[in-house]
Symmetry: C2
Subunit: 118 residues, 2 copies
């Protein structure tokens, strides 16, 4: 039987050979917005602190304005927040995702209906 839930889309936006933005970066930004911490956001995704930190550095370098702002100080080295540019980039990614689900809805439904019974 085809699955009851409509399919989800995982979209990677490929700007050029070296620069892309996909679900991992989007989820990390969302996690930083939610937790106020790169470490906590990475942990929620099962990601090492180094991996989360590297992704944040890559995102900040990739865009003209940084997406994540780091606050210094405190026992844990301070928190992190999204800049307004970070919030906008995350919102734009979700806009692309929603537009794709919406505009591709009929094709996705036809694909789902072709799945085998499980």
């Amino acid at each position: 039987m085809p699955p009851a839930a409509p399919p989800r889309l995982r979209i990677r936006i490929v700007f050029d050979e070296a620069r892309f933005f996909g679900p991992g970066k989007a989820d990390l930004l969302a996690g930083i917005a939610r937790t106020g911490s790169i470490a906590a956001a990475g942990r929620d995704m099962g990601m090492s602190y180094k991996r989360a930190w590297d992704l944040v550095q890559a995102m900040n370098a990739m865009f003209a304005s940084p997406l994540v702002a780091m606050a210094r100080g405190g026992a844990k080295g301070g928190g992190a927040t999204l800049t307004s540019e970070g919030e906008r980039v995350l919102a734009l990614y979700h806009l692309v995702q929603d537009a794709a689900l919406d505009a591709g809805g009929a094709a996705l439904q036809e694909l789902s209906a072709k799945l085998s019974d499980i």
Copy 2:
């Protein structure tokens, strides 16, 4: 400077926990349609024969009707072709991709414009 070319999208359609269809499967189907051979299609993607064969088996099991038909015989074990269901699934995947690029165009353009100079 933002890249001159518009961004591309790599879309993975996630039907449920175990079943998805993304650029790898789509490119393999397109390669089989072009070359008439699973081995040749895989080779064009830098994929081992085993990997290409496993992907074809997974696709054929995932949908109610097989996407790839294998012909037996001949020194190389016969060729492979897309069934009409395979052609339709590939066309639907491209429809989703085109719809996403079109509907998400404004957001993608805004994202591109935010990239740093390189």
